[in-house]
Structure formats: structure tokens, C-alpha cells
């Protein structure tokens, strides 16, 4: 009753209906736009030319086939890790651990890629599956702790991130004996190179960019995740446990099992992303490899409102911002940190979407459900 005290009382007009239908798309777009406007002011304040900066950003990200190829390659792990965060989110879990799960998957795929010898047709799937299992196992730890003890997954996944990062570092840098480290690499900063048979095939674009097989795989995963969530009983169980655990229990769903499973599936996605980066892009793993990719994935998922198809676009935006930053830096002699500021602003405006709604005079979000209509009145 009091919940609906913020009702606006606007008549259901055509505009309103349009809004109800499209707000999920409009708010993120307006948030990005607003962030770019605020970013332009910040660039202006630093004394640089914001127009040159943004033109550079655009051209650097999407201006040429080569730039676009770079953006796509860069976006691929964002898309897959965004799916990881989104899937967990649909199951009511806030997975901050994509970073750790990336490392777990990457380490597993490095092990398979460097130690086994077999034809590519087996070696590539084996490396990918190893990555998936590594990520799944790592994420399942947090899922298990949540399901059995109630320990909050946010805390546990953050802690597991540190453990994964430091363990990877040690596995690579250890020299007595060498574990994953490459005795041939004097800096000691990377693992041995994976066998050629484990490398993902791809199409060379320009001098250094390879459009590898992981890119179509990411698109397939988008549809697999959407199918899993909305077309299978398992997805129904995960969404129900996430939306209303009480109703899930009532419906006979084993909620603890579903939580563990959802975390494991989410983790397997991050693990696959880690494996693709290893066998698709660099051929080896280094300690600072992902540098916050798993955290940015939270932003990618949030921007897409955990919608799998939307993640294709938010992932491309993220990859594009990072790829275009270099040219922007050159054109407007700006620090690359400005891009980080714009990214942070986007997230702020998406998270605090009431601000966006206020700026553009859009209807307020109703408490709880956007579609919830009747709970506000009646005896």
C-alpha cells in the first residue's frame, strides 16, 4: 500500500506505453550519451579539444576494418564474461568473481595446451573444456559456501579473485621448479606457449589482429545462455531461485543445488573466456593478463541489464571504448585515463538510472516491478 506512494498517476498514454516497452533499451543508451556529454566537459576542462577526442575515439574503434576487427577481438572476452555475470545475476547471485574464474580457466587451458599433444581437432576443444571446468570449479566454491553456509557470494568471490590471481602469479613465476613458467622467457612474466595444435584458427586482419574462432563462439554462447535461461527447466529453476527463493522452495526446487549449479555454469563461461584469450590471442598466460576484465564484465552485464543479446552491444561498446582510446589519446593528446572516466560515468548513470530519468523527464521507475500495477490500491 505505502509502497506505491511514489506512483506518478500519469495516464496511460501512447508515450507511456512506448516507454514501458522500450525503457530497458532507452535508459542505457541515454546513460551512455549523458556520460559522453559529461566526459566532453571534463576533456574541455583539461584544455583538450573534445571534438577531436571523440572523433579519434570513434575512428579508433570503428573507423576502419582494422579498427573494427581490433574492437571485436577486444570485446569478445567482455561479452563472454558479461554473460557469466548476467547468468549468475538471473539466479540472484552477484558474481564479482569473473576475474578469478578467468584466471582459473586460463590456467587450466594453459596446462592442457602446453602439456598434451594431440591433433588440433581434439586439442582445441580440450583446452576450451579445461577452461570451462577450471572456471566452473572456481566459481562453484563460492556457490557451495553460499548454498551450505549462507556466506555471501560477493565477499567470497572477491577473496577467490585474490587467491586466483596470486596463485596464477606463483604458477608462472616459480623457477624452482618451473611450473607453468617458460625457462626460455628471461623476464619470467609469462607461461610457456601453448602448442600450435591448441591455438584457435582465425583470419588475419592487418599486421597483428586475428579474428579468431573465439569470436563466433562468443556469439553462440550468447544464444546458448539465452536458451538455457528462458527455454529450459534448469533456467526456470535458476531464475525462480533468483527471483523468489521462497516460491522456488515451495515449487520443489532444490535451491542450494541450483545456486551451486548457477555459479558453476557462470564460472564456466568466464573460464572459456580465459581459455580463448590464451589459445586465441596470445598463446600464453601472463600474471597481469586480465587486469580487471572480470570487473568490467560486471559493468557490461549491468549496462545490458543482464539481457544476453544486449550484452553483445554493451560488450562491443566496452571493447570499442578501450580500442579507440589509443587514437583518441593521439588526436587530442589526452591521458588514456579519460576513457576510464567515461566508462565510470556510464556505469554511474546506468546504476543511478533515476538521474537519467530525471534529466530526460522520463517516468520514474516504480518500486519493485516496472510492470507491477495493481498492488498500490484496493482494500
Amino acid at each position: 500500500m505505502a509502497q506505491a506512494a511514489t506512483e506518478t498517476g500519469i495516464r496511460p498514454s501512447a508515450l507511456r506505453l512506448f516507454w514501458d516497452r522500450w525503457s530497458g533499451v532507452l535508459v542505457p543508451i541515454l546513460a551512455v550519451f549523458t556520460a559522453l556529454v559529461v566526459g566532453a566537459f571534463i576533456i574541455g576542462v583539461t584544455g583538450a579539444d573534445w571534438q577531436a577526442a571523440y572523433i579519434g575515439l570513434w575512428e579508433g574503434a570503428f573507423g576502419s576494418p582494422r579498427a573494427f576487427a581490433d574492437t571485436v577481438v577486444r570485446s569478445t572476452p567482455f561479452i563472454i564474461c558479461g554473460l557469466c555475470v548476467a547468468l549468475a545475476f538471473k539466479a540472484g547471485l552477484f558474481n564479482i568473481g569473473a576475474e578469478g574464474q578467468l584466471y582459473a580457466g586460463a590456467v587450466a587451458s594453459v596446462v592442457i595446451g602446453t602439456t598434451l599433444q594431440m591433433p588440433a581437432i581434439f586439442h582445441i576443444p580440450a583446452a576450451l573444456i579445461a577452461g570451462a571446468l577450471g572456471g566452473a570449479a572456481w566459481a562453484a566454491i563460492a556457490g557451495f559456501l553460499k548454498a551450505r553456509t549462507g556466506a555471501h557470494e560477493v565477499i567470497n568471490t572477491i577473496m577467490l579473485n585474490y587467491i586466483a590471481l596470486r596463485m596464477t602469479d606463483w604458477l608462472i613465476r616459480s623457477k624452482t621448479p618451473y611450473i607453468l613458467g617458460d625457462p626460455a622467457d628471461t623476464t619470467g612474466a609469462r607461461s610457456r606457449l601453448v602448442a600450435e595444435t591448441a591455438r584457435l584458427p582465425g583470419i588475419q586482419v592487418g599486421s597483428s589482429t586475428i579474428l579468431h574462432l573465439g569470436i563466433p563462439l562468443a556469439l553462440v554462447l550468447v544464444f546458448v545462455v539465452a536458451w538455457l535461461l528462458y527455454r529450459t527447466t534448469l533456467g526456470f529453476e535458476m531464475r525462480t531461485a533468483g527471483t523468489n527463493p521462497h516460491a522456488a522452495r515451495y515449487a520443489g526446487i532444490n535451491v542450494p543445488r541450483t545456486i551451486i549449479l548457477a555459479m558453476a555454469i557462470a564460472g564456466s563461461l568466464a573460464g572459456i573466456a580465459g581459455a580463448i584469450e590464451v589459445i586465441g590471442v596470445r598463446g600464453a598466460l601472463s600474471a597481469d593478463f586480465f587486469s580487471g576484465l572480470g570487473f568490467d564484465a560486471i559493468a557490461v552485464a549491468l549496462l545490458a541489464r543482464a539481457n544476453p543479446v544486449g550484452i553483445i552491444f554493451s560488450g562491443l561498446l566496452w571493447g570499442g571504448l578501450l580500442t579507440g582510446a589509443r587514437l583518441m589519446q593521439v588526436r587530442a593528446s589526452l591521458s588514456i585515463d579519460v576513457i576510464k572516466i567515461v566508462q565510470a560515468l556510464i556505469i554511474m548513470f546506468v546504476a543511478a538510472d533515476q538521474i537519467v530519468r530525471f534529466i530526460y523527464r522520463l517516468p520514474k521507475r516504480k518500486p519493485g516491478e516496472e510492470t507491477q500495477l495493481s498492488k498500490g490500491w484496493g482494500g
Partner: protein
Amino acid sequence: MTQNGQERPVVLEARNITKRFPGVVANDNVSLKLYKGEVLALLGENGAGKSTLMNILYGLYHQDEGEIFVKGELVRITNPHESIARGIGMVHQHFQLVPVMTVTENIILGNEVTRGPFLNRKQAAERIRAISAQYNLAVDPDALVADLDVGAQQRVEIIKALYRNADILILDEPTAVLTPQEADDLVRVMRTLTAQGTSIIFITHKLREVLEVADRIIVLRSGKVVGETTPAQATEASLAAMMVGREVILKVEKQPARPGAIVLEVRGLRVRDDRQLLAVKGVDLEVRAGEILGIAGVQGNGQTELVAALTGLRPSEAGTIRIDGVDVTNATPRQISELGVAHIPEDRQRDGLVASYPLTDNSVLELYYLPPFARGIVRNDQAINEHCARLVKEFDVRTPGITVPASSLSGGNQQKLIVAREFSRQLKLLIAAQPTRGIDVGSIEFIHNQIVKKRDEGVAVLLVSAELDEILSLADRIAVMYHGQIVATVRNGELSREELGLLMAGATLDRSVSIEV
């Protein structure tokens, strides 16, 4: 109480109030007058617009059109502080009290009497005692609210309003949580208040109380005032007809039960609640095929925990539960459900539905994994949609479509969807907890008839309800639950309403009660 109110001054008037929500007109040109010292009953089904109107008067909403006059003065109330300042107090259905604070602290909260930077509890307590004596509202100012029973907590809410000098009281479904005796006490309090000049708007959908306590009755239907009457001119049947727009059969038509074999057998069941206190303290009961066993009792006497244990949602500490001879003590909800047990849960918003899911998903909430709704792990949306459309049609669920979220339905229609879903499979045992709580007369009638129909098909029914009238009209046998125990089991008709009320309140009867097992 049939004085002619028209000669007294009008203390509150609403003129042509219209309030629209997206897609619905909640109040459509509603006008009402409240005279000094009267009880005005506002009667209507769920979704009729009673709460919207009261929330407008109390300042929680603002009307789109229309005017409000308080004591003759045109006012624009934009928040509850203003309404309180103008003497309007509201007692919500769900009390707004802080359990860990004392009565005095709760009452002065937000309106603290201070001496320098410190609270002056003593002075406040004095005033509370004075109010309590003046209106015969017995309550100890120093008691902790958590230690008070529901009736006393309600008195605290009333004193809270009076303490703020309210002379217009809005009581929103005040009797929903009370025992019959407590409800009688409340009626006495309302009389004392009106005798001393307080005016009361009494919101309810219980017809008996309206006739007992109101001076005037206004009936709302679909946001409009459809009639104004007095208890002298009205009967329960005429009020019900006004509320739903057609004649309603208030008594459930049913044949005598023909009990068959024992379906549910509970022996020595002990269950703990969330705070790990023993809530069910050794319950024995059995329900036979083709009979309805009604569990009567004031809420909070262990019924919730009993039902949770029977349906696998809460572990039992001791005792056994057998369904059709199968031991299901501490079995999972799914194991129990697969034996042919349906559960209409007490809290439909929390347990029975996923509010944001479309009706289709909700219509298969616990059947989703079974054919034809799933092939392997793949959902069969077509089968789900057909199933949902059939339920909506058969159970007359009023909805614009099957893909709208469950939260967009009224409470009665949500409940009909749940009942439809639970009845849509082969049943041996139906466990119905508060199946008609907070829903409209039309839906109640429908659900009651469906429950009786299931009984006649040979289903064993365990009905748990805090509404004694519901138990009396549906049950074949009645078990009274008090403080976690079954204190009496009788055939329906053996005890009067009053005697059952006494048992529910923990009293023992002077005459011996035949306890049948």
C-alpha cells in the same frame, strides 16, 4: 447506534475524488461525508478503491481531481504529517510499531517530548495513561511492544493517533488479525471513542462487523460509490450484493461428508519456528479422504509451522507425518507434492507466486519439469500456454492476458490462479492455508465451492484459517489450535461460535468437550 448523523457537523468531506493509476481508475468521482462522532463503514471488495481513497485522505497519494474538506476547510494534504496536524490518524492493517521499544517510546516516536536534549518519558507516559483511562484502552506504557498480544498492539496504534490529537480515525481492516473476543473489545473501544466525539472511518470487508458497529455504510465497487445505507436498512446479503454487483450465496452449499480412508496422519509432531522456539508442541491429527478438517486458531499459534512441516518446507523435530501410509516426515517439498499433495500457501505473494513472472510461468510453478510442460530439460511453451489459458478460463481469473505478470492481478485473482494450479493435477490431499485471506467476496465464494467440490471427489482437505466463519462454513470437523497444540477436535456444529472463540483464546469450556480422534 442508529442516531441520525445528518444533524451533526461534518468533520471530513471528500468531493468528487478521482484517482487514476496507469490502466486503472482507482477512484472514480467518489464523494463521502464523515459526521462528528459516527462510525462510517467503508465496504468493498479488494481493488474496489477503499485503500486508495484512505491513502488520499491520509496524504500518501494525491488525487487527480476533486477536493477534500477537513472541518469545513478546503485542504491539500500532501503528506501524512499534514493529515496528522489536521487531526486525521490512521491505524494501518500492518502495525507500524517497533517491537524492541516500549509502548511509550513507540507512541512518542517522531513526536518526542523533550527536556533539553533528553526525552521526557515520564511526562509522555502520564499522558498515555490519561488517554488510556479516558477511552478505556488498557495498555501498560512501560511494556515492550514485542511482549504485547495483537489486540494490545492495536490499542497502542490507536493511542498513538489519539496522542497526536487525532479526532478522525481511519481504521484499515482492524479486525483481520483479532480473535472474536478481541474484535468485540475493539467494537467497545470504537463506541467509547465516538461517544466522546471522535469520528471513525472503518474499512473492512467483513459484513457482520459492519452491521454491528457502523452508523452508516458506504459501499465502493470498481472505484465508484455504489450505495449508502445504514445497518437498520441492510442485511449481510444485501451488502454482499452491493459489493459484488450480484447476489452472493454466503453459506456454502454442501452435502454431509462421506469420510473414507485416512490420508494424512500426524503423530506427536514437534516443529520449531524461525527463532528456534517450539511452535508446534506435539500435534496429532488425521484427515480422511472426502472430509474437510478445519484448523481454527488465532494466527501465530503454530498453524504456519504445522503447514510448513506437512509440506516439507520446514524440518520437524519429532513425530511422524504419513500421507497415504507413506512416511514423509522431513521429506522434500517435491517428494510430498509428487504423492498428490497440493498446497495453497498462506502467503501467496511470498510462496505461491513469482510476482514478476507471467501467469504462464506461474501456472506451472511446481509442474514445470513434468510432461507435457517439459521434454527432457526443454520447456514446451505451447503446452504451458494452453494449460494456463485453460486454468484462467475454468477458474475465471480476470486478467487482460496470460503473459501479464502475476503482480498485475488483484489479490483475489492471484489466489484463483494458485487454486487453479493446485487443483490442476491428481490430488489426494489438499492443504489450504488461509485460502481466502484478503480477497473479495466473489472470489471467496468461488474458492469455497471449489474446495467442497474437491472434497466430494474424495480428496482429503486440511483447511487452516484464522477466519472462524470460514472454518464454520467449510469444515466437517474442527480442530482448535492454541499455543502449538490441538486443544479440541469436534464435529462442526458441536460447539457454538462463542465456545470456539473461547477455545481459540486459550480458555477452557465449562462443559466437557468430546475430543474425538
